[in-house]
């Protein structure tokens, strides 16, 4: 998967620093948003049985902006744009899988 991503990114000439910043901005905005969402799903599954469905969702959402901010900071601190893409996609996949696993465990039907 990492190979595919780096191939895709190499198609565009991202060697110019401007492109790199643009590329990073895209990861920060969209990848960060996706991460904030997947993380909120994870948190709400984690808390589902202890505080009830609605509050669990709400707590997940309350954290989303902080997750978003951290993701953006992460994107702009790693060595290069390719790594930023890969890291954010990895984190997204991690939270998606973890949420799915938790759903099997909690027996949530949504």
């Amino acid at each position: 998967m990492e190979f595919l991503v780096s191939y895709f990114i190499n198609c565009f000439n991202f060697s110019s620093p401007r492109w790199a910043v643009f590329s990073r901005s895209l990861v920060a905005i969209f990848g960060g948003y996706a991460l904030a969402t997947s993380c909120s799903l994870f948190i709400s599954q984690l808390l589902l049985n202890s505080v009830g469905k609605y509050q669990a969702i709400h707590i997940g959402l309350l954290f989303s902006f902080l997750v978003y901010a951290c993701a953006a900071m992460w994107v702009f601190s790693v060595l290069n744009a390719t790594k930023a893409w890969i890291d954010i996609i990895k984190a997204n996949v991690f939270f998606a899988v973890a949420t799915w696993l938790l759903m099997q465990f909690t027996g949530a039907n949504s």
């Binding site: 909120s40 709400s44 609605y54 509050q55 969702i57 309350l62 901010a69 953006a72 900071m73």
Partner: protein
Amino acid sequence: MKDNFRQSMKWFHTWVGLIVGWVLFFMFLTGSLGYFYQEITRWMEPERPFIEHNVSNEKLLDTAQIFLSKHAKSVDEFSIYLPNVRDQNLRVAWREPAEPGKKRGRRQSHIVDINTGDKVESRATGGGRLLYRMHYRLHYLSTKVSYWIVGFCSMLMLLAVITGVVIHKKIFTDFFTFRAKKGLLGWLDIHNVLSVIALPFHFMITYSGLLFFLFTYMALSTNLQISDDEYSELRKEIFPRTAQIESKNQAADMLDISTLYQQAKRTWKTDELLSVKVYAANDNNAQVRFVRHETDITYNPEDQVLVNAITGEIIPQIAKKYTVSGMIHNGFFSLHEGQFAGPIARWIYFFTGLIGTAMIASGLILWTTKRKPKQMKKPNGPDFGYRLVEQLNIGTIVGLPIAIATYFYANRLLPVDMAERSAWEANVMFISWAVLLIYPIFRPANKAWREQLQLAALAYMALPLVNILTTDKHLINSLIKQDWGLAAFDMTFLVIGCCFAFSAYKYKALQVNKKVRKPAIRHGSRQVTKQKNKQNEKDERENEGLLNLQQANKGNS
């Protein structure tokens, strides 16, 4: 990005702050004014009467009730707002029956003259409400587009706040450092002090600002998890409402509100009263709620008394139940809006908001100050980007306050019977802002700064004067009537004007200083030059030490 984390964050902080800095400045300034939106509206409706001292609550309630029985006979739910610290007039409000196809009817709100009991007809104006709504709803754009723009800017603000903390290892030491008259370093220190002094406020206001539209921004997450029906249940759990009081459709005679008020007075043992709300008026189920303080999340059931309007008995109330996360959410709302704040807390809110505004301004100025020496050496003059930032700085940091002053001028000077009057007040504001943004293009930066500062001083100092010439609600009269709300407003204009005049004077003095100093160095003896050089070197070293955190980090790690 850069060699190490802190260095990358420094770069990130710079650019995150810059790209939407001017929008953030606009949001912070109009938002700070929002803490006084009722006071602003009152000033902008000069037809309203002056404060009346020593009128009993009973008389006020009677006046309001007579007014309502004349003008809102068939309405079954209405509110009475008594004169208070923020708004010294008696006000009544109700909602008209909904027109077919609409969810809710139009809200009517009228000022009642306490002496005559008549409706006060004021000029059409957007008032403070329009001004403060701009800080989250912008203007001219559709609601949805504005919310997303504001959300994007707030997110960048949140990032700027967090990265700002991260890049400052010595946040405590920096707070006590101020190197005045050192150009770049001076601005850096100002920026640091303004940021640190109100750091909790900056974080709270930005984060809570985002929370206001949490369910709009993060709609993807809720959509993935729950259906629309469940979503409205979720909202009810987070924002609990008191049960709706329905009318039974059996006409009944209500007791007078002033009679019912005695119950509340006996419970509270004081004669404080902020507002009264009547539910299901003239019905068998009629109830009246007396409120003595704005409560918000600091919800104190003792601040409200609910009375059966037919029998006059007190109805025990069930406190709203919040979930923990709901409490946090609503708590942030209360902190953001500061509705509970008394006069002193309100001024603190206002000043902290201004500190935030100044923090953004100093950050923007810092960006140009840092790049100035390099840009000035370029053979073709400064880059386009540099010029653009400089012009936007002048046009916004000084231009926007002037534009807000023209909003007040428009209120006093536009013809009272003008069509679309309240829309034109805002148009005037944005047109003058546009002019002030364009003006610096044609002037050298130094002169543009100075001239706009002078203009700002003039604009604010002349406002009370225009007020004297156009209305009878001016400073002298309001002082005589001891109407401190109105008087404070005019005096604030004067103080702001003086602040601008002072900065214009200071700015000029600094410019003159620079001009005088340069020849002195050239013609001075060699020794002096040497000393100066040493001093300069030392300055530069300090400069590097602070600005290149990278080096500092290497030393530390």
